[in-house]
């Protein structure tokens, strides 16, 4: 039992250290605060995959009563520790992503045109900004064929993660 307790304590310490490091990366002025607009990026850089709506909820928990535009470290740490320990907002595995991409390919062509993927990503779900769309296209579009070979894209991205 003592071992278990020790290992869970050290796990928490580990998790908290990871959160601290991730927070520090975005703490541009080294004063233990980050811009509220970067919280989403920090949460995701820690491996979580929340939707914008879920992020919004998280922010409500940790924002000050009078929103200052900044989030303080203590509040972020407390919330994020729970999120990571409870393994909330886990990312979907590669095959699920592939299925999602296939769903967008309504004509079952085996690939998606730039227009198609742009249409879906910028009008459905939680739409991309033009910058996000451009970034995604720059990596997703096969330079020779001019379309998104989503099978290759999904596996390339999955490989990145390791």
């Amino acid at each position: 039992m003592a071992d278990e307790k020790e290992s869970s304590e050290s796990m928490i310490a580990d998790v908290q250290k990871r959160i601290t490091d991730a927070f520090d990366i975005f703490d541009h002025e080294s004063n233990k605060t980050v811009d509220v607009r970067e919280v989403g990026t920090i949460v995701r850089s820690l491996g979580c995959c929340p939707s914008e709506a879920e992020l919004h909820d998280m922010l409500e928990e940790i924002e000050e009563e009078e929103p200052t535009g900044y989030i303080r470290f203590e509040k972020f740490l407390a919330m994020m520790t729970h999120v990571l320990m409870e393994r909330r907002y886990k990312p979907s595995p590669e095959d699920i992503i592939l299925k999602a991409l296939m769903t967008l390919d309504v004509e079952h062509k085996g690939h998606l045109t730039q227009e198609e993927i742009t249409k879906y990503m910028t009008t459905e779900g939680e739409p991309f900004t033009p910058e996000e769309m451009e970034e995604m296209l720059s990596a997703a579009v096969d330079p020779d064929k001019g379309v998104v070979l989503y099978k290759d894209y999904a596996s390339a991205m999955a490989l990145e993660e390791t």
Binding site: K17, R18, D21, A22, D24, I25, F26, E29, S30, N31, G40, T41, I42, V43, R44, S45, G47, C48, C49, P50, S51, P91, S92, I96, I97, K99, A100, L101, T103, L104, V106, Y120, M121, E124, G125, E126, P127, F128, E132, E135, M136, S138, A139, P143, M157, E160, E161
Partner: protein, 675 residues
């Protein structure tokens, strides 16, 4: 709700919901991926900044060390006397207080006797300059020509004459000029200047510009950038305004590449050119005031900055802002000057130092800028007080590289503008310039200059990979150079010498030794391996590469090589200071002196026998002279592991830029060194 074909209606609804869910899933997944890239990019960025400022800090430490040496060495010891005279000779050659007369300066930098042969195919200038000549200058530089020493010297003389007529603080009135362009640091990156001129047009009466300092050092075309700016200034003296930066300073130039570039490009005339540049820099105005509302200065302010003082001081006496303007006791043969500085002199000197070196920070108040080693950190309260008491609305400054080329801070009362894109590495940051109209609302134009040959469309992922690989490589160099110290620190956490450390202890040790404030835990996986228990395996940090030096002798231990490698930049600066005639060669005695000075500076014994041995070995021609540039370039960090794809791309980009660099300028020591 009508009762249409219900079955297909349902499946339509189901289908569109499926699409929405699929889209959402992909968006979430992509945003996570993107966030991780962003975190990696910022980490790489922090590494670069850390390394850059560590270099500057070291330079200032070295400089303070020299000052102290001159002021405090007991004169009776033989060796001290000798070293002191070596350094004094160099520092007073430039005449700290410019007691040298005008005629003497003109004689030393005379160009009229320099012949231009018909074999010279570069731009030719006659004075006064014409617009046509400016365009031939631009064209010539675009084609990679070097301006002949004769024309450059004449250009510099004319520039000096003009600058002498200018006040310390330039004045711009937007009611007259209607609009204005403000550029930040260029650091010898002529491609960025070409981009700016291409997008925004050459300067002219309806196209005024302010250049906010730091146009030399680091990049490979500092001479050309400076020449172009000065040519514009001569052509349009009322429409081009140049502020001095902290790199328009001979002491900085000795370390950061401008001096080397000048000496390489101009060989025999190098000393003349460099001396005249030094003189011209000291005449550059310190700031520009727009409509009495916007203050443009290179670094920033301190809580002591007084406009009246800035406007009235004699800026010319600060040849190098790092050299106090007063005489150092025993350092000069001028017997009538007393050695002790007056308080007023120090206060004034600090004013100039502060406006060229300071950085804005979130912390309130004003504190010494320890990161850089000079100037101060000033908070929003200092800015606010300064703006209020002078009835101003904005400070525009440069001095710090920003990812987007510009950045507001202090509740939009301070605006940083930085014009050198890809400053740390290909893809590291955009450059930008400000367009300012009569409404005083800054607008920004951003760009990222890539050479045509490298213009291939690379994705964000690849770009981050390249930046990261390069940053890590640079970081590893620094780690490696501090090997001995790190090993000693690790021992404190590992008294039984198991060679294993807890990750937390390892992070602690790294920060204790390197002082770089980096996210060590996140970087760990790129720097060192862990064992099955998750503990750091110390040897894996150092066994990946070796310092390779072409000149190792049998007796020389690894520690001498490591010490010299680690302090390569300081050693280079010391060499350049000792090399009075700027020939690139020093005698064996001078080489030993340099190593002696270095050992005192770092507070660490360097074995005299080993140095003498090395000196003999370096004197290949047996003519008693050592080519120190060759010596410094002989040190390279040789990576023994197989390279990742990203590292290969990054290295190929670096070596491409070297090839494209001026044929006459030699590349710096290791190809991975960006400092």
């Amino acid at each position: 709700m009508g009762c249409g074909p219900s079955k297909s209606g349902e499946s339509d609804m189901g289908k569109s919901e499926k699409l929405m869910k699929a889209a959402l899933l992909i968006q979430k997944w992509y945003r996570r991926y993107s966030a991780r890239l962003e975190a990696r990019r910022i980490s790489a960025w922090k590494i670069y900044q850390s390394i850059e400022y560590a270099g500057e800090q070291d330079q200032l430490k070295l400089y303070n060390f020299f000052n102290n040496m001159l002021a405090f060495l007991p004169p009776d010891q033989n060796s001290n006397q000798h070293l002191s005279s070596v350094i004094t000779a160099r520092f007073t050659a430039g005449a700290v207080t410019r007691t040298e007369s005008e005629q003497e300066l003109l004689k030393h930098t005379d160009y009229t006797t320099i012949r231009v042969t018909s074999s010279y195919k570069g731009p030719r200038l006659t004075f006064p300059l014409s617009r046509y000549q400016l365009t031939t200058l631009v064209e010539g530089f675009k084609r990679g020509k070097t301006l002949h020493a004769r024309f450059l010297l004449e250009l510099l003389h004319n520039t000096r004459q003009l600058l002498k007529t200018k006040a310390n603080v330039n004045v711009v009135n937007l009611n007259i000029t209607k609009q204005l362009t403000i550029c930040g640091d260029l650091h010898g990156k002529i491609d960025d200047l070409f981009t700016i001129f291409y997008k925004n047009g050459l300067p002219g009466p309806d196209n005024p510009y302010i250049f906010n300092g730091d146009f030399v050092d680091r990049g490979n075309h500092s001479v050309e950038v400076a020449a172009l700016l000065f040519a514009c200034l001569l052509l349009f003296p009322n429409d081009v305004h140049i502020n001095r930066g902290n790199h328009e300073d001979s002491v900085m130039n000795m370390r950061y590449g401008f001096m080397k570039e000048v000496l390489n490009k101009y060989k025999d005339h190098g000393t003349k050119v460099f001396t005249l540049f030094e003189e011209v820099f000291s005449w550059l105005p310190l700031a520009t005031m727009i409509d009495k509302k916007i203050f443009v200065v290179h670094g920033g302010i301190s809580d002591n900055t007084t406009l009246f003082s800035l406007e009235t001081l004699d800026r010319h006496k600060y040849i190098s802002v790092l050299k106090p303007p007063y005489q150092i006791e025993g350092g000069n043969s001028e017997a009538n000057d007393s050695g002790k500085p007056k308080m007023s002199e120090i206060i004034e000197w600090k004013q100039v130092l502060d406006i060229l070196w300071s950085d804005p920070k979130t912390q309130l108040g004003c504190s010494p800028n320890s990161f850089r080693g000079g100037g101060c950190y000033f908070g929003a309260d200092v800015t606010d007080k300064f703006l209020r008491s002078n009835n101003l609305k904005l400070i525009i400054r440069s001095h710090e590289c920003k990812r987007d080329g510009y950045e507001y801070t202090h509740y939009k009362q301070v605006l940083t503008i930085f014009s050198a894109s890809n400053y740390y590495e290909e893809g590291s940051n955009k450059g930008a310039y400000i367009k300012l109209g009569q409404d005083h609302k800054p607008e920004f134009v951003q760009y990222m200059t890539t050479k045509a040959s490298r213009g291939r469309n690379i994705s964000i992922r690849q770009r981050v990979g390249i930046i990261e690989a390069s940053a890590i490589r640079n970081l590893k160099e620094r780690i490696f150079a501090s090997g001995l110290e790190l090993k000693q620190e690790f021992q404190k956490f590992d008294p039984e010498n198991t060679g294993r450390l807890h990750v937390m202890d390892w992070c602690c040790a790294m920060e204790n030794v390197l002082h770089m404030e980096l996210p060590w835990r996140t970087l760990r996986e790129k720097l060192v391996d862990v064992d099955a228990d998750g503990k750091v395996i110390v040897t894996t940090m150092f066994d990946f590469c070796q310092i390779h030096c072409n000149f190792t002798t049998a007796q020389e231990g690894p520690s001498l090589t490591e010490t010299l490698y680690r302090n390569k930049d300081s050693l280079g600066t010391i060499f350049r200071i000792i090399d009075k005639d700027n020939s690139g060669s020093i005698s064996m005695q001078e080489f030993e002196d340099a190593c002696d000075i270095l050992s005192r500076h770092i507070g660490h014994e360097i074995s005299k026998e080993q140095v003498v041995d090395l000196a003999r070995c370096l004197d290949i021609n047996k003519d008693g002279q050592i080519d120190f540039n060759e010596f410094l370039e002989a040190f390279r960090l040789v990576d023994q592991r197989p390279r990742t794809d990203e590292e290969l791309v990054s290295l190929s980009l670096t070596s491409m830029s070297d090839k494209e660099a001026d044929l006459l300028s030699r590349s710096s020591g290791s190809t991975v060194n960006i400092i």
